[in-house]
Symmetry: C2
Subunit: 333 residues, 2 copies
């Protein structure tokens, strides 16, 4: 598979760069260890690959934007570290979360450091001949991602206490919490590559749509995924009371009894595996999972049609974006 | 007093700008309210004033750098919000801290939002005719401040558990936690104003030295300050076991009995007012407070001699920096 090979290739370059970037004085080694923890624990590096492909489509060389590719991964990791504290998650990428290992105060700081390092990385592209006006524009997008992530996480947390979240509200939330990062990654790449306004806009829209599909797929895997492959406990979304598109569909289509059963488990951190399994069964029987699969496909199709309309001399990069959109809704991890 | 008037003038401009910057969609109003809380609660806006004075000395107009001045205040506020969570502080600027009012998860997010808004603000200077290469340089400094703040807070927290912190270690910590922000503020101003390398460097060094003096004065006020004027409980540094220059001097000069008494109170959050008062008395009798006062003066004198060597056509701005250095060690809040 062309894309997966390329993602691995980008991962090795980006990871090498990050391992040199997230390193500090010996007397604050703990802070840097905590910051590097989730980076070292794995991850597919889809977002960095989006930056590089966006830049290639716009006309830049891969090596010019490796620091920018690392930048969005650092920003992504920052948000994982802080979200895990807020959501009280204990596992991520198959390892204990940062706050579980180092405590909350240092986990807050580790997130803050990664946030700053995301900017440090982006500004490094200056050394690869990217002109300052493009760097300023890209930095605006990185900042827009950060603001939008915070708003998205706020909505997500608000929803946990509410039982009447609509599909529109869910879509707004994942657009902010997940899709903005995909959109921003492609835009940063395209801007640094000197892409025309129209190209930047179209790539951003492609990213937004595949980002929405990615999150819906994530929500699906939260119900039917394999714990060992995912690296985190399945059904934790149910335990945390996350209002995913699956839950929203189910609550809207359940009988009074089914609704009661779903609500008796949702958001209860001490729910037993048996209870969770039963609710998962109800979600399946109501067609809520198939509904989500259909929605993810719908967004992916829209994304692909936008991608088609982009003209570039790098048809290989464009083909890989196409493959990425299709991979996202087929993935099992 | 010329400087205090000017600080008020800058405060009104910067505050107006921030009130328009820290505002968001109605469905995440809570996040923006929490983010704005400490901004609205007061503060002298010394750091923004440093940005503006640095820019004026380098040759820019005050109004060109108001967003940059707001930027460092937003970065400062971010660090206060997160530090208050880590230090379990309950009051700041005379009001309950953000996590006390909105809970830790939202306080973490509010800090993150302020962090992002600091960048958003700095990038706004583009609209006032500042060229992109200067914006990129200034953004590097803002990022350096953020990295350094996280390292400084890590050291500060490490020190709480240690009883053998040296004066050198303390100075390194406050250089990162406090002085970097003063240094960075002046450098950002000077860079945006198009100052010569030598001017940027000297203003940075002036900022670093006054920043150290500022923190020493803060530590002094933590023992002899007035609670109502400070807006936070006096002696909380003792309760939290902060290793200030005063404590370090006292531990190095105490009799065995005095040392025992100090250590029996230091870091004990349930220490009584009587116990705290007694320890404060020991610190005074050992000359530790006078020692700190002398040190603060020493750094201020060094700062002033560097300031003297800077040439500028804006002698008014230079005079105000001089006044600022002297105000810092005389202030009672």
């Amino acid at each position: 598979m062309k894309l997966l090979e390329y993602t691995k290739h980008i991962k090795s370059k980006v990871d090498e760069y990050m391992s040199k970037k997230v390193i500090g004085p010996i007397n604050v080694k703990k802070l840097y260890d905590a910051s590097y923890h989730l980076i070292g624990a794995g991850g597919k590096r889809l977002r960095p690959t989006l930056v590089v492909l966006g830049a290639r489509i716009a006309g830049a060389q891969e090596d010019q934007v490796i620091p920018a590719a690392a930048s969005v991964e650092l920003m992504h990791t920052f948000s994982l570290v802080h979200d895990d504290i807020m959501d009280r998650d204990e596992y991520r990428r198959g390892v204990p979360t940062v706050h579980k290992l180092w405590g909350e105060p240092l986990a807050i700081l580790a997130g803050d450091l990664l946030f700053a390092k995301a900017y440090e990385a982006l500004l490094d592209v200056e050394q690869y001949g990217i002109p300052p006006d493009r760097i300023v524009e890209a930095t605006k997008i990185l900042t827009w991602i950060a603001v939008t992530l915070a708003e998205g996480q706020t909505l997500d947390m608000n929803f946990e206490e509410r039982m009447d979240v609509s599909e529109e509200e869910y879509l707004e939330m994942i657009e902010k919490k997940t899709a903005a990062m995909f959109k921003g990654s492609l835009m940063i790449g395209a801007i640094l590559g000197g892409g025309a306004k129209e190209t930047v806009k179209k790539l951003g829209e492609f990213g937004r749509l595949t980002g929405i599909a990615f999150q819906i797929q994530d929500d699906i895997l939260g119900i039917i995924g394999d714990e060992k492959v995912l690296g985190k406990p399945v059904w934790s979304d149910l335990r945390e009371g996350k209002k995913t598109i699956i839950i929203i569909h189910a609550l809207n289509n359940a009988t009074a009894d089914q609704r009661k059963q779903i609500l008796s488990v949702l958001g209860r951190r001490d729910a037993s595996l048996d209870e969770l399994k039963q609710v998962a069964g109800i979600l399946k029987s109501l067609g809520s999972i198939d509904y989500a699969i259909g929605k993810a496909k719908e967004y992916t199709m829209k994304a692909l049609s936008i991608l088609e309309s982009i003209t570039t001399s790098d048809s290989e990069a464009k083909d890989m974006l196409k493959e990425m959109a299709m991979f996202i809704i087929k993935r099992r991890y």
